[in-house]
Amino acid sequence: MTMPAPVSTLTPTPDAKAPESPKTAFADLWRPALLQAFVKLDPRQLKRSPVMLVVELTAIFTTILCVMPEPAVPTGVAVQIALWLWFTVLFANFAEALAEGRGKARADSLKAGSVGLSARRRTSTGGYEIVPATRLRKGDVVRVEAGEMIPGDGEVIEGIAAVNEAAITGESAPVIRESGGDRSAVTGNTRLVSDWLVVRISANPGESTLDRMIALVEGAKRQKTPNEVALDILLIGLTLIFLIVVVTLQPFAYYAAGSLPMVFLVALLVTLIPTTIGGLLSAIGIAGMDRLVRLNVIAKSGRAVEAAGDVHVLMLDKTGTITFGNRRCTALYASPGVTAKELAEGALLASLADETAEGKSIVEFIRAAQTLPEPPASDFNAVPFTAETRLSGIDFNGRVYRKGAVDSVLAFVGLKRSEVLPALSREIDKIAQSGGTPLLVCAQGRLLGAIHLKDVVKPGIRERFAELRKLGIRTVMVTGDNPLTAAAIAAEAGVDDVLAEATPEKKLARIRHEQNDGRLVAMCGDGANDAPALAQADVGMAMNDGTQAAREAANMVDLDSDPTKLLDVVQIGKELLVTRGALTTFSIANDVAKYFAILPALFASVYPQLGVLNVMHLNSPQSAILSAIVFNALIIVVLIPLALRGVRVQAASAAHLLRRNLLIYGVGGLVVPFIGIKLIDMLLTALHLV
């Protein structure tokens, strides 16, 4: 899927904003990764990827065989095979280490801040004691003063303060955190820049946002995702089958009064078992999570990310996700007999003192269209909005300028709705029907005209929904607006369905309804009343600046509090699955060519006639087997970039995606090794290595 504007968030821009930019360039990573590749040879670590464990065991076995030479295999060839088997394991380890390195670099830079952090914990008597942050437990209450770091994730129970969350979000502007309401959650390792807070800690050590972030990108601790577990089982199954195939070959050869060289049998086993995917599986998973982390989204488990790839329905809040947060002025309609300039002047003056976003949008709209004289604030008397008048405006030069909702202004000028001139009345109705909000402007008791306020749909969002639709994902817009208004915005944004006049209960019911029909639902939310829906949804993404309740109910937290990111998460989930599937298919398809390389070589002593199967015309049995092994090892290296970057998922139907990927990775997997093995064979022969 080629995402428009927001795609740029996929590139690591947040890193650039972070206080100390983690080193994630290949140049910084390859050295430690190389070292890690050797460390990971430890079988205890390797047992997490059973296929590679088998390769390591065969490498050890072949190394031993090197000192017990068989007549059919020159020692030089046996040594080379053993070496390339070790390389196979090392290459796979290197891929994993490289993937880990990027995530770890980021995690380390975050972790650095938390070392030696201490906290002021409230004791049972009501006093405070200083304890190391690592000793804080869920439920502890701490007090944080200006200039101090918040020692852990938690909820503000007293106070109001500005917090700099740059360490986590990369956003340098401080945000306000206060008790009660929807801005009560704080994150560990962020700095208080003003006032004080009393915070109830909500996570035990090891369970904080930061810890989760680190756990997702560390190979040894990472929990495998459900599809990864399923794929692992299949790979183990295939390995077992090929083990049976290879082990039984010796008795069969014995029947034919022949004997097969052990080293060659080992080579056959390693080339047949799915080493390509087996070696890269872990790296794919880690790299996928790292992409998420770079998006500044923290998933509580890999499971949720995979589920994001599976979702059928996205429930998106209108405000903030589909439209900009506030209504904006988009047009002015003058009453008959009023000039456009008069109306603009009136509307501008009536809005000058209005500090609301809507008021400002009116001023901006008029300023952009024409230059009108604006009196300085000292010259006029601002009349703010009150609950009684429901109007705002200014008194200037003894003239009264007001604007407000239709009914309020009509009441102010003493008109009935039926007495409004038909031309203006029609415009008012039109605005309301189109989903907008009409405001009226009056000056000196005279109706000047109407202002069209409307929700402005974010640019590019419509195209994005169209892409999602191609992938078979439906979007549902959730809004508190009435159905009429909601339908108008929905049509403009191109969503598939609308949940109007939404309440938390309605949201929850809608999610349950979709799930009962077998659909997976993703949503984002921030308020405390979103928590049940977030918990019910298959993928719930909470905003970091939301409530602690929402953050706990959700299975993902977006540190930037940008609900549109849900779309990126879906994308990453899909890429993760496609990459695994593509490399699995490629890996299995490769076996065909390897058979044609190895079988004639293997059976050369038993049935030389089988030489006809040597369709690649490889130079000798030794060179054929060595070429297959070398290809098998090198293909892992070649595919590392793909594993780390992930296979792109275009916006297209499942049938289209399947056809395309089968062609590239299935047919490609059949053809590439024929060419690769032949080239390697030519090279090995030219270098006289066999």
Binding site: I233, A256, K574, I588, Y595, F603, V606, L658, N661, Y665
Partner: protein, 564 residues
């Protein structure tokens, strides 16, 4: 090939493909207890069966209970058959006073018929009484086929139902499968065969003096009834030792055509039954297309190979025709090859010629048909559930590539399903490769082989493949009636039968419990040419990668050694 060869092939396809959609719907209605045109006749019998057995057909079973009932029923069937074979001299209807079978042979035969394999290490007319044939073997011919059908419908229900705890009632499924699914068709075929000249009698064997003046005993018996079910139930165990090459078992061109078509009549129809269960006949058409493609690839290869003359006879003095050695001259090369292809594609195993005499490549086609797990139409029920396993494997392998957790017809394939699939994937490698490897190194087992070199290896390979695939056809040439082969092949047969049935039922239970995701644009398409191609390649790839080295040492080496 002559025009009548083409006519035979055409008639065969018309006979099996035309009635399939109708027959498939009939099986669906029958297995779901709906009313069919046979209900007025068989309904009361069905009710009587339930009353006598004390079964409530509407009380459904969980997959565990269903499996237990199936195992108990099969075990009981095995014990009874084993006893009949051991003690037939004490039982009635034994005009030739034949003694009981040796215990390993009786064990092998009982396992063979309970597992729907019908591997025969004995010759029917020389060692079995009419009672053993009728009350022993024919009964198992019916119920083993019905068992396959029951497992299939359990799997169909598992896929078709949403958030369900039960898979149906095993006893009701067995009753309906036997009563409506098998008996009426068998009755029709048996009468047809009797008309064509197959004996159906309790009379003693006939003594005759041949024109050379030699005394000959001509065996008779209730053959037609058993032949009907051995063809329709994909059993394949002949009444007579040489199976449908015997003139009393297959007397005419008509009997040959109808016996041939009967082999895959029900397996083809059941693919449509599946479509009714999942309410999407496009799935059926895709699966049929894949089976047909594999059938035609195999059949075409075998026909081509069998029409190649043996290079050893390459001399101007020899008139070159297709080799006829080992073939039933009444049916010719095409008739024999088409039967060989059909009987190994379906897990029937009856023969009208000797596979040992096939050219290496045609012999390999027979082997490959079985090695892919008997899924090219396959056995009654067993073929399709085996094929559905392949469908699930294909969906899992390629399904990730559309960026979703793999789903088949709305059912997610997760770790548990993959685990069960892997278990079934291991059945053939273990049953064929491991058991054949043991036989290959034991001098006593190797001594049973009649030819040296790769052909002898093919004989061992074929025996274990046939047993593990529950096919039952014999390559011939292997003296398999030894305690070693009787027991090892029994092991292969049990593995090949229950190594699939148990995971399949567990899979059915697990799938039934899942929610069904709605089918939409983002659903992995499991119909249409792309999926058919994917499925076909998956089957060939999984089978090929497992067995290519072994085949290289058997038929491929033989082909190259003979200089074809």
């Amino acid at each position: 090939m002559h025009s009548y060869d083409y006519a035979l092939i055409l008639a065969f396809f018309v006979l099996v493909l035309l009635p399939a959609p109708w027959l498939g719907r009939f099986y669906y209605k029958v297995m779901e207890g709906q009313r069919t045109w046979l209900t007025p006749v068989l309904g009361p019998v069905e009710k009587l069966c339930y009353r006598v057995a004390g079964v409530d057909p509407s009380s459904e079973q969980s997959w565990q209970k269903y499996t237990l009932a199936l195992l108990a029923f099969n075990l009981a069937g095995f014990v009874i058959l084993f006893a009949i074979l051991l003690f037939q001299q004490y039982l009635p209807l034994n005009p030739q006073q034949l003694p009981g079978q040796e215990w390993t042979l009786a064990f092998n035969t009982a396992v063979s018929f309970v597992t729907n394999t019908n591997w025969q290490s004995y010759s029917g007319e020389a060692s079995l009484s009419d009672f053993s044939q009728m009350a022993g073997l024919t009964v198992q011919n019916f119920v083993s086929a019905a068992t396959g059908l029951a497992v299939l419908v359990a799997l169909c229900r598992g896929i078709g139902r949403r958030s369900a705890q039960t898979l149906g009632n095993f006893w009701a499924d067995m009753t309906r499968a036997t009563l409506y699914g098998l008996l009426p068709l068998c009755l029709v075929l048996a009468l047809f065969l009797v008309w064509q000249g197959v004996p159906q009698t309790f009379a003693h064997y006939v003594n005759a003096v041949t024109m050379q003046g030699v005394d000959q005993v001509i065996p008779l018996g209730p053959a037609a009834s058993q032949i009907a079910i051995k063809q329709l139930g994909t059993n394949g165990g002949g009444f007579f030792g040489v199976n449908s090459a015997h003139p009393f078992e297959n007397p005419s061109a008509w009997s040959n055509l109808f016996e041939l078509a009967s082999i895959i009549l029900i397996p083809v129809a059941l693919v449509f039954t599946f479509g009714h269960y999942v309410k999407d006949l496009r799935q059926s058409r895709a699966i049929i297309a894949c089976m047909l493609a594999l059938f035609l690839i195999g059949g075409g290869t075998a026909l081509y190979a069998e029409y190649q003359p043996n290079p050893a006879l390459n001399s101007p003095l020899v008139q070159h025709t297709a080799p006829l050695e080992g073939k039933e001259t009444r049916f010719g090369t095409t008739g024999t090859v088409l039967w060989a292809e059909t009987t190994t594609a379906a897990s029937n195993g009856s023969v009208n010629g000797m596979h040992d005499s096939l050219n290496p490549m045609s012999g390999m086609v027979a082997l490959v048909n079985m090695m892919v797990g008997e899924v090219i139409f396959g056995g009654v029920g067993a073929g399709l559930y085996g094929m559905l396993l392949n469908v699930l494997i294909a969906v899992f392998l390629a399904g990730l590539m559309i960026g979703r957790t793999p789903e088949y017809l709305g059912k997610k394939l997760q770790a548990k399903e993959v685990q069960l699939l892997v278990v079934t994937l291991l059945v053939m490698p273990v049953g064929v490769l491991v058991l054949a490897a043991i036989a290959s190194v034991l001098p006593s087992a190797v001594a049973a082989v009649s030819n040296p070199g790769p052909h002898g290896f093919s004989q061992i390979l074929y025996a274990f493949t046939s047993a593990s695939a529950n096919n039952g056809s014999a390559f011939g040439g292997l003296s398999a009636n030894t305690p070693f082969y009787n027991l090892m092949l029994s092991l292969g047969m049990l593995l090949g039968r229950f190594g699939y049935i148990l995971p399949v039922l567990a899979l059915a239970g697990s799938l039934a419990m899942k929610k069904t995701a709605p089918i939409g644009q983002n659903t992995f398409p499991t119909h249409g040419p792309l999926f058919v191609a994917l499925l076909t390649v998956t089957i060939l790839l999984v089978g090929g990668l497992t067995f290519l080295p072994t085949l290289a040492l058997g038929p491929i080496a033989e082909q190259l050694t003979l200089g074809f």
